[in-house]
C-alpha cells in the first residue's frame, strides 16, 4: 500500500514533467505548425545549464532560474537564426532540419562538458522526506517538482485561456491571416512562443536533472514519450497533453515498479526483470495504438482549421 | 430502358446532415431521372457542396438514404460509388498536379479496368488505357495538350480536364460542382457548349452559380435554401416562382428574376 502511494506519486511527478515537455511541443506545433525534434535537446540543455549555473553560484534556486533564462534565450535565438525560415515548409523538412540540430547539440555538449555525465546535487533542505499523510513519507524534492509543475500548468492555462497573449496565441493557431491583418507582429509572437516552449522543456530538464544523471542524449527517449503524449492527447491541445501526460507517466512508472513482481509469478526471476521495462514501455505504445484506432485525431483534438 | 424512365437514376430521401448546431442538409429529398440534366441552385451557404459530398460519399449523412441505379449506396465509400458509375468534378480544381494531362485521365480509365495490383508491366504502355484517355481528352478539346503537366495548364483547361477525368470513368451520372467557377466569358461559352454535347450521353447533376448557363442547360432545376428544397421544377416555372425570387432577393444573383 505504502509502495503504491509512493509509486503513484512518482508516476504523477513523471507525468507532470512529461507535460512540461509535451506542452512546449504541442504549443509550437499548434501555433506555428512546426515539428521540433530538437525539443529534447532543449530539455538536455536546460539540465546542463542548471548543473553549470548551480555549481557556479552555489545556490540551487538561483542556478535553476539562470538556467531557465538561458534556455529561453537559446530557444529564441534558435528560432530567430534558423527555425523561422522553416515555417510553412513541409513537415518533413522541419523534421530533418531539427534532426540535424540534435546531432549538433549532442556533439556541442560533448565538446563543452565532456562525454561523462554531470551530477546536480540537491541542497540539504530539498532532500528531507516529508510526511504527506500519517506514516507516509515522500522526498521533498519530488514533492516540489509536483507543486512547481502543477503551478506552471495552471499558469499556462491562465495565460492561454485568459490573457491577451493567450488570445493572440489561440487566434494565431486558427487564423494566421487574421492576426497578421490586426497589425500584430506575428514574427515576434512566434519567437516568444518558441522561447516559452523552450523554457518549459528546459524547466523539465533541470527539474529532472537531480534525479537522473545529466547526460548526452537524455532528451531523446523522453522526446519520443512526449510525441506519444501529444498524439494521444491530440496535437495542439494543451488539455489533451496534460491528461495524456499524467496517464503515460503513471503507466510507465507503475509498470516499471510492479510488472517485475507480476511477471515473476509466471517467468523466471532474471527473465522477468529484463522483460518488465520492455513490457511497460510497450504498454504506452499499445495504448497509443488503441487510441489511434479508435480516434485517429487523438482524444482531444484542438478545434482548428 | 423502360425501367429507367419510371425509376429515377438517383433517389435521395430525407437526407439530414448536421454540423454542430447547423443543419446543412435538412430533410432533403430529390430525384434525378435517367437522361436529364438536373441543376441545383441556391444562394451561398445553401448546402450545395455538402449535398454533393454526401452524394459522392466524401461525407456521411446523419440520416436518410441515397439510392443510385436501384441500389442503396448511403453507406458506400467514395471509391465504390465511382465503380458503380457515379463520377464527380470538384468545385476547386482537384487534379493530380504531378501528372501530365493524359496520365490524369488514363489513371481514371485504369480505375475502371480491372484491378491495379499489377506491379511489373509499364502502365503507360497499355494501349487501351491510353486510347480511352486520348478519346476523353478529345471530347473536351484537350487532345493537343495531352503531354503537358497539369501545373502548366490554364485554369480553363484544368476545368476541361476535370471533365475528361470524370468521363474516363464511364459514368452513368456526372456530378458537376460549379464547372464554370473562375472561367472567363469565352471559356464559359465553351464549357456550356461542351455540356450541351455531353448531356445527350450521360445524366448530369449540375451545381452552378452562373444562372445564364443553368437556365440554358437544365431540364429541371432544384432550388436549395438553408439545406431545404424550396422548389423543383422546369426552368420556366422556377423563373416565375415567388418563393425562389424571395430567397434570392438581396443575394447577388437577383438575375433570376429577369433572365
Amino acid at each position: 500500500m505504502l509502495v503504491l502511494v509512493e509509486q503513484s506519486l512518482n508516476g504523477l511527478q513523471f507525468g507532470l514533467l512529461l507535460f512540461l515537455l509535451a506542452a512546449g511541443l504541442t504549443l509550437v506545433f499548434g501555433i506555428m505548425d512546426f515539428v521540433n525534434l530538437a525539443h529534447g535537446s532543449l530539455y538536455m540543455m536546460g539540465a546542463y545549464f542548471a548543473a553549470t549555473f548551480v555549481a557556479w553560484t552555489g545556490s540551487f534556486v538561483l542556478g535553476a532560474l539562470l538556467a531557465l533564462g538561458a534556455t529561453l534565450l537559446l530557444g529564441m535565438a534558435l528560432e530567430f537564426i534558423a527555425l523561422r525560415h522553416l515555417y510553412g515548409r513541409d513537415h518533413l523538412d522541419q523534421v530533418l532540419a531539427t534532426f540535424g540540430l540534435i546531432l549538433f547539440f549532442n556533439d556541442a555538449v560533448r565538446l563543452i562538458w565532456g562525454p561523462a555525465g554531470l551530477a546536480l546535487p540537491l541542497p540539504a533542505w530539498l532532500t528531507v522526506p516529508v510526511q504527506i499523510i500519517p506514516g507516509v513519507y515522500y522526498p521533498a524534492y519530488r514533492l516540489s517538482i509536483i507543486v512547481a509543475a502543477l503551478a506552471v500548468a495552471a499558469l499556462l492555462y491562465v495565460v492561454v485561456m485568459r490573457t491577451r497573449l493567450g488570445m493572440l496565441i489561440r487566434a494565431g493557431a486558427s487564423n494566421r491571416e487574421m492576426i497578421g491583418a490586426l497589425g500584430i507582429n506575428i514574427k515576434l509572437l512566434f519567437t516568444l512562443v518558441f522561447g516559452l516552449g523552450a523554457a518549459l522543456a528546459g524547466l523539465a530538464g533541470l527539474m529532472q536533472a537531480p534525479i537522473l544523471t545529466v547526460q548526452i542524449g537524455m532528451g531523446e527517449n523522453i522526446l519520443i514519450l512526449a510525441f506519444v503524449i501529444i498524439v494521444i492527447g491530440g496535437i495542439g491541445s494543451i488539455r489533451g497533453a496534460f491528461l495524456a501526460a499524467i496517464f503515460v507517466g503513471m503507466i510507465d512508472t507503475l509498470g516499471r515498479a510492479f510488472l517485475p513482481d507480476l511477471l515473476r509469478k509466471v517467468l523466471s526471476g532474471a527473465a522477468a526483470s529484463t522483460a518488465a521495462p520492455a513490457l511497460s514501455s510497450m504498454l504506452i505504445y499499445l495504448l497509443m495504438a488503441i487510441v489511434l484506432v479508435v480516434r485517429p485525431e487523438g482524444l482531444f483534438p484542438a478545434a482548428r482549421r | 430502358m423502360v425501367d429507367s424512365l419510371a425509376d429515377p437514376l438517383l433517389r435521395v430521401e430525407k437526407l439530414v446532415r448536421r454540423f454542430g448546431g447547423i443543419t446543412a442538409t435538412d430533410n432533403l429529398s430529390l430525384d434525378v431521372m435517367s437522361g436529364e440534366l438536373h441543376a441545383i441552385i441556391g444562394p451561398n451557404g445553401a448546402g450545395k457542396t455538402t449535398l454533393i459530398s454526401q452524394l459522392t460519399g466524401q461525407l456521411a449523412p446523419n440520416s436518410g438514404t441515397i439510392h443510385f441505379a436501384g441500389r442503396d449506396v448511403t453507406r458506400q465509400p467514395a471509391y465504390r460509388r465511382s465503380r458503380l458509375g457515379l463520377a464527380r468534378s470538384f468545385q476547386i480544381t482537384s487534379l493530380l498536379p504531378d501528372f501530365s494531362a493524359i496520365d490524369n485521365v488514363a489513371i481514371a480509365a485504369q480505375a475502371h479496368d480491372g484491378h491495379s495490383f499489377r506491379f511489373w508491366g509499364n502502365a503507360r504502355k497499355e494501349i487501351h488505357l491510353r486510347d480511352a484517355a486520348r478519346s476523353a481528352l478529345t471530347r473536351v478539346g484537350l487532345e493537343a495538350r495531352a503531354d503537358v503537366p497539369v501545373s502548366e495548364l490554364s485554369h480553363g483547361e484544368q476545368r476541361e480536364l476535370e471533365l475528361a477525368v470524370a468521363l474516363a470513368t464511364k459514368p452513368q451520372l456526372l456530378l458537376l460542382d460549379e464547372p464554370m467557377a473562375g472561367l472567363g466569358v469565352t471559356e464559359s461559352a465553351r464549357m456550356v457548349a461542351l455540356l450541351k454535347e455531353l448531356r445527350r450521353e450521360v445524366t448530369i447533376v449540375l451545381v452552378e452559380h452562373d444562372m445564364e448557363a443553368v437556365f440554358a442547360l437544365a431540364d429541371r432545376i432544384t432550388v436549395l435554401v438553408y439545406g431545404r428544397v424550396i422548389a423543383c421544377d422546369v426552368p420556366d416555372a422556377i423563373r416565375n416562382n415567388e418563393e425562389v425570387k424571395r430567397a434570392y432577393l438581396g443575394d447577388q444573383h437577383v438575375v433570376v428574376a429577369h433572365v
Binding site: 540535424g100 540534435i102 565538446l111 519520443i224 498524439v231 529484463t274 520492455a278 489511434l292 | 489513371i107 506491379f119
Partner: protein
C-alpha cells in the same frame, strides 16, 4: 527504353560503374578499408531506396524505417544462435517477418496522416526497439554476436569480402530494378496518384489505403533484406540498429540524394556515409558539422543532389 544524356543520368552511370569496379581498385591498391566502407554503404543504399519507395513515391513519411534493419538482422541472428545456419531459411524468414511487421504497423499507422503518421511510425519502431532490448536470451541491450554468416551451400561464400560485396551490390541493383518496375506499373501510378491527391483518387474509384498499405509492406520487406545483409556484414546485431536516430539517418540519405528519384537514395547514402567517415577522421566532433550542414541542405537545396543535377543543363 532509352536514357537521355542528362547530368543526372551521367552521374548515375558513373556511380554504377564505380560501384562495380570498386573491388578491383581495392585489390590493386590493397586498400581493404574502402571495400568494407562501401559494403556498408551499399547495404544502407538499399535500405534508403526502400524508404524512398514509400516516402518519395508514396508520400508516406515513415520515421521508423530502421525497425526493419533490426528485424531482418535479428531474424538472421536468432536463427543462427538457435543453430539454423542456412541462408535459405534465414533470409526468407527475415523477409517474411519484416513484411508481417510492416503489415501490422502499416494497417494501424495508415489511419493517420501527416505529422501523426511521422510520429506514429517513430513510436512503433521504438516499441520494436524495446522488444529486442528485452530479449535477454538474445543479448538484450548488448546485442547478439553472429558467429557464422548465413550459409548458402556452395553457391556463394559470405565470408569472402569480394563475394559478399557483390552479393550486396546485386541486392541493391535488384532492388532498384524492382522499384523502377513498380513505379511505372499500374500499382505505382496509383500510389503516386494517392500521394498527389488522395481525395481525387478516391473519387475516381481507388481504395487509397489498400494501395498505400501494400506499398508500405513492399518497402518494409526490401529493408528487411538490407537488415539481413547488415547483420552478416557486422557479424553482430543489436537494438542500436533500430534506434530512432538510425531511421533519421535513412531519411537524411533519401532527402540528401533526392526524394522521389530512383537513384537519389544511392547517391545520398554514399555522400552521407563518406562524409561521416571523412569528418570523423578530421574531428571527433563531426556531428557538429554534419548537423548544421543538414539544416543548410534543407533550407537551400530542395530536391537534394539529384534535384540540383536536374536543374543543371548540359552545354
Amino acid at each position: 527504353m532509352t536514357f537521355p544524356i542528362t547530368p543526372r543520368n551521367i552521374v548515375a552511370a558513373l556511380v554504377v560503374a564505380g560501384l562495380l569496379l570498386l573491388p578491383l581498385y581495392s585489390q590493386l591498391t590493397g586498400n581493404i578499408f574502402i571495400l568494407t566502407l562501401f559494403t556498408r554503404i551499399v547495404i544502407f543504399a538499399l535500405a534508403a531506396s526502400s524508404l524512398n519507395l514509400i516516402m518519395g513515391y508514396g508520400g508516406m513519411m515513415s520515421f521508423g524505417h530502421a525497425a526493419y534493419l533490426g528485424i531482418g538482422g535479428y531474424a538472421v541472428g536468432i536463427l543462427a544462435f538457435e543453430g539454423i545456419g542456412s541462408g535459405f531459411i534465414q533470409w526468407p524468414v527475415a523477409l517474411a517477418v519484416s513484411a508481417l511487421f510492416a503489415l501490422v504497423i502499416g494497417a494501424l499507422s495508415l489511419r493517420t496522416r501527416g505529422v501523426y503518421f511521422i510520429m506514429i511510425t517513430l513510436a512503433f519502431a521504438q516499441m520494436a526497439y524495446y522488444i529486442v532490448s528485452g530479449m535477454s536470451r538474445y543479448g538484450g541491450d548488448d546485442g547478439l554476436t553472429i558467429y557464422k554468416r548465413s550459409n548458402f551451400g556452395g553457391l556463394i561464400n559470405l565470408s569472402n569480402r569480394v563475394q559478399f560485396y557483390y552479393l550486396c551490390l546485386g541486392c541493391l541493383f535488384g532492388g532498384l530494378y524492382l522499384i523502377w518496375r513498380i513505379i511505372n506499373s499500374r500499382f505505382g501510378l496509383v500510389v503516386q496518384g494517392v500521394r498527389s491527391n488522395e481525395q481525387r483518387m478516391q473519387a475516381i474509384g481507388f481504395h487509397a489505403n489498400r494501395y498505400r498499405l501494400v506499398c508500405f509492406v513492399i518497402a518494409g520487406t526490401i529493408c528487411g533484406l538490407s537488415g539481413a545483409l547488415l547483420a552478416n556484414n557486422t557479424d553482430f546485431v543489436s537494438p542500436a540498429v533500430m534506434y530512432w536516430t538510425r531511421s533519421g539517418d535513412l531519411m537524411v540519405m533519401v532527402i540528401l540524394g533526392g526524394m522521389g528519384s530512383l537513384f537519389g537514395p544511392v547517391i545520398g547514402a554514399i555522400v552521407y556515409l563518406v562524409l561521416e567517415e571523412l569528418l570523423s577522421q578530421f574531428t571527433e566532433y563531426w556531428a557538429m558539422i554534419m548537423g548544421p550542414l543538414l539544416l543548410l541542405i534543407v533550407l537551400f537545396a530542395r530536391g537534394g543532389i539529384m534535384g540540383l543535377l536536374g536543374r543543371l543543363r548540359l552545354g
